[in-house]
Symmetry: C2
Subunit: 440 residues, 2 copies
């Protein structure tokens, strides 16, 4: 296979660097094999304490217990009247209002026959009361009397003590993602500070003599460095603020300096300079710096030249130089790695079944991630339309894509109308219209 031809060349090249004679480097892995190779080597980072205002999106690193019963006692579920069901087995009937109870009050009286209490939602039931009648089923009379228009059964419209939370119960478990609702739960049990898994320190390096930095004047012969910034944003989207190391040219010593700085971080992302041309020094230099390379080259498109290595304390991802390839490889490999380091259990982007608006070719040797836009058919089912350009250099097409259709390898081509799985990209979290338009 052509890939293997490159493989041999490269293995020979690496054999010349003594540090690497130790082991074989896997090549031509499947996406799944590559993900397993990476994730098998990753465990969550150590924990740290954080405040509630900084907790969103972090992974909880402790078990959280309820510190109280909620509701704290039997309370009314409605605005209305607390009464004795025995007084209300028939209607209409008139009772005397002995007090007015709102949330947070402590009832002063125990209800006697013929008595009731006006009560607000969430207010504690007075002793003697065993039911609540909604205000709309009553009519207020003079002299603090109220007429009940319907009979009442016991235990109606009452929220029982501890029905939502019982003191001592586990409310959140270690590893849970801290969502807005979880922040609400933490506030409920009065946890202003909590243990979470710390975030990885991530460094980003671009590689290549042809690259022009953002702050450099425009040179028409050069290629602007966009990967550093797209990767920065992909990392930021996970709640991590990365360090941009800049652009390393192909001079081995200078490159080594950049890589050494990068390896001081938990994760080093390098884009470009990792294909197999004679001019690529990245992987050999990493090897001489003590990085163990576990694989290079994954059978996917875009993103074929992709390598992964480790030191005792750092993870190194060599991403392709093409802008789209770099982003797609990040989605498949770096994103789940960073999420596992952060202590999360849900590591991968949500995928949804989509009906293909156009046929998608299945490649013999590689999975293809096909940029596509989403739409709905009459039944509300999702349709995916592949973008006209699937060029790995066409980053514009990524800004217009909602999803990546996963086109399996070595299958029959996917026909128009067939169902495929599509990974939802950032923008696809949102949609233009609510479905409530149709329903509500």
């Amino acid at each position: 296979m052509p890939q293997k031809h490159f493989g041999i060349l490269e293995t020979e090249a690496l054999m010349n660097s003594p540090a690497d004679t130790s082991h074989e480097i896997a090549t031509g892995l499947s996406v799944q094999e590559a993900q397993a190779c990476i994730l098998d080597r990753i465990t969550p980072l150590e924990t740290e304490e954080t405040g509630l205002a900084q907790a969103l999106g972090r992974a909880l690193a402790e078990e959280v217990l309820a510190n109280r019963d909620l509701p704290p006692c039997d309370v009314s579920a409605m605005d209305g009247y607390a009464a004795r069901a025995a007084d209300l087995d028939s209607a209409p009937i008139t009772l005397q209002i002995v007090e007015d109870i709102k949330a947070g009050d402590t009832p002063r009286f125990s209800l006697q026959p013929g008595q009731c209490a006006r009560i607000m939602t969430g207010a504690p039931l007075p002793s003697g009361a065993d039911t609540v009648v909604r205000v709309e089923d009553t009519r207020l009379l003079e002299n603090d009397r109220v007429e009940f228009l319907v009979p009442a059964k016991p235990a109606t419209d009452i929220r029982l003590r501890a029905e939502n939370m019982r003191k001592g119960d586990i409310v959140l478990r270690a590893g849970e993602e801290i969502t807005p609702a979880a922040v609400g739960v933490l506030a409920t049990v009065k946890r202003a500070k909590i243990k979470v898994t710390r975030k990885p320190r991530v460094a980003i390096l671009s590689n290549g003599d042809e690259l022009e930095a953002l702050n450099e004047p425009l040179d028409p012969r050069k290629i602007p460095d966009s990967n550093s910034y797209a990767l920065m944003a992909q990392v930021q989207a996970l709640g991590i603020e990365p360090v941009l190391l800049g652009i390393a040219c192909d001079k081995p010593d200078e490159l080594a300096g950049f890589l050494e700085r990068g390896l001081e971080h938990d994760v080093l992302l390098i884009s470009g300079g990792t294909s197999v041309g004679d001019h690529d020094h990245v992987r050999p230099t990493l090897t001489t710096l003590g990085v163990t390379m576990h694989f290079w080259r994954v059978e996917m498109r875009p993103g074929h030249p992709m390598a992964f290595g480790t030191t005792k304390h750092a993870f190194v991802f060599c991403l392709p130089g093409n802008p789209v390839s770099s982003m797609v490889c990040f989605e498949q490999f770096v994103l789940p790695a960073l999420r596992r380091l952060m202590g999360h259990r849900r590591l991968f982007r949500r995928t949804i079944p989509v009906r293909l608006a156009q046929a998608v070719k299945s490649r013999q040797n590689r999975v293809e991630f096909v940029r596509a836009t989403l739409s709905r058919d009459a039944s509300g089912a999702y349709m995916a339309t592949p973008a006209a350009s699937q060029s790995s250099g066409d980053i514009l097409s990524m800004t217009r894509a909602d999803a990546l259709i996963v086109a399996p390898s070595g299958r029959n081509d996917l026909a128009t109308g067939e169902i495929a799985q599509a990974q939802l990209l950032e923008t696809a979290i949102w949609q233009h219209t609510p479905d409530t338009e149709k329903y509500c």
Copy 2:
């Protein structure tokens, strides 16, 4: 209808406050009517300049043009040899290598018959060359000669000048969300600073004598204020850092002071104290402070008591006091409002079709948003299982929900196996396993 009974009571109550005699307040709106009532009054805020590192998730407020051609000239799409197709109409044939061209180089020679140039991916084609042959289709010989094993056609493995981006073309439009790919595009056209729509200033206030602040000692008779923090996190999830005003008790003057402070912001979120009991002063106080109330009470569950008002420069949302009701109302009404203020076009949460694992009741008068977990059936289609507890006080059930099933009103109940739409909540952006497991 019972709702209307409340409606009359409340309208009477409000009529007593002179500021409000001006207009009728709509009540019992549908979710769609309420969303329209809100969004019709909202336009994006003014623009501001931001740096690329702070741009992610913002809405672009200007049109961005390409400042260069990409590729800047015809370049090789492969590592291999640039040659004259005329020399390679048959194979095998041997050509002389005259130079070595990598990305960023300027070719020194024009290819003559019998000559070729070794060329790297992205490197400029030398003049005379009209095709590229991949290295795996060649065999390197001694004395800088290379044997081509296959014939070559013109224009093979060449990326043409400007094929990805042409100088002067529009690359991003005003209103586009700045995704990681868009950040890459902005870096490509060397825009270190860009115009975006500014973020709204959001204030959050909880209301109710029964509430206990996070920093207060535990009082078993009280209810912890969780809504301030759940709302804080829901706002943070949109990239906005809100201001927490704290807890207002039911004393009218104190409440007025809190509300005045809140109205100095673009958006004021108030949770609790807005049901229709005699003890609720929030809406009357807002009215006396010059807030025009547009509706209160939306026919939905959870979240029935929900009000919306405006001043010349502020939007006020009165959310229910129950934790789940507050969060669900935020999702349906506040979230799209904040996204529109931020200049976004995609205002609503993504919904997907799901097959119901259990029947869901359709209410006569109101849409129900049913907490549910997602799973996949054998075919890869989504199943939604409603949570056991749908209590509006049970915030724990929100931490375990992936989605909200939208149960339309006034329909037949949704049967097991029927398809419904489900709004994906925060956690549902991620899933445990990649679909590549099945395919790659």
